[in-house]
């Protein structure tokens, strides 16, 4: 099953998502020939929880390794905001980057879905902070705009 994500920004940066057609990271606000052309990602049957048949769509972002700015504005870095589909279970935050759930997709059948339920946890742009105290893993906080 394929899906797209409506474009928004986190700290004024547009995230990217894998485009299944080209297997490249594409910014969500891509425009082709004057028309919005967001990337399309695909979920495989293994991307769902076998019991709940739910898959998490998350955004991953981390601080720039050189400037310390959060998130990194280097779109070649794995710390640049990136939408990642097909997560199960939800990834765990580390100092390099953290995750925020932007939505879930639940299907009736993980192999041949015919009905689905979409829940959007994030419906707009975000402000985000990374705060770390001592040796504790960094914490990531987001606020809707």
């Amino acid at each position: 099953m394929r899906f797209q994500v409506q474009s928004g920004v986190v700290n004024n940066i547009v995230p990217t998502m894998n485009d299944v057609a080209t297997s490249t990271q594409v910014k969500l606000d891509r425009v082709t020939d004057g028309v919005a052309d967001p990337p399309t990602e695909e979920l495989e049957s293994t991307n769902y929880n076998s019991t709940t048949k739910t898959s998490y769509i998350v955004m991953r972002a981390g601080p720039d390794a050189t400037t310390g700015d959060f998130p990194s504005s280097d779109d070649t870095s794995n710390r640049y905001p990136q939408i990642i589909g097909g997560n199960e279970p939800i990834p765990v935050d580390i100092d390099t980057y953290g995750f925020v759930i932007i939505g879930t997709i639940t299907v009736d059948n993980t192999t041949t879905p015919t009905a689905l339920t979409v829940i959007q946890n994030v419906t707009g742009s975000l402000w985000g902070d990374r705060l770390k105290t001592g040796d504790d893993t960094a914490r990531y906080y987001y606020a809707r705009i």
Partner: protein, 153 residues
């Protein structure tokens, strides 16, 4: 004057109105790393659970990163070795009223502060300058290990 959250150098979420409690007994910058919307603290006090930040009207996180304990803070320092006398305080810094909010002072008053020279029970005078709270103990290297549910890191 209003504080604008969301645009600026420091935290843009609720962190713009929070601060760690700085450890005034330690020298050096309390900041290990910082950048836009990113602060990592080298030392200070934090709760064993939760994030360890306290609400503040003064020097919120975004303004703290370059100035050690320029915000909510605790400091223990020896005054005289004989008779043993030291001072425990939460210094005012730039605020005429102190840097820790009244409701947090009320919660911290009565808590035990574990120091190099021993332990004391924090009194309300710890928040009132210029004399603060004095106690009959002395260490040449006085440090604060913990304050109630707050642990030094």
């Amino acid at each position: 004057m209003a504080l604008l959250i969301g645009q600026g150098f420091g935290p843009s979420t609720w962190g713009a109105l929070r601060s760690i409690i700085f450890n005034g007994t330690l020298s050096g910058s309390p900041i290990a790393e910082h950048g836009l919307h990113n602060v990592a603290y080298e030392h200070g006090f934090k709760t064993t659970e939760g994030n360890g930040f306290v609400r503040t009207d003064y020097s919120a996180l975004y303004a703290n990163f370059l100035t050690p304990y320029y915000g909510p803070n605790f400091l223990a320092q020896g005054l005289t070795a004989s008779p043993p006398q030291s001072q425990f305080s939460s210094e005012y810094q730039s605020s005429p009223y102190g840097m820790i909010l009244d409701e947090d002072r009320e919660q911290l008053t009565g808590e035990t502060a574990v120091l190099t020279s021993g332990s004391i029970t924090i009194s309300s005078s710890a928040f009132i300058g210029p004399y603060y709270q004095s106690y009959a103990a002395y260490s040449t290297a006085e440090e604060i290990t913990s304050i109630g549910k707050l642990t030094a890191f």
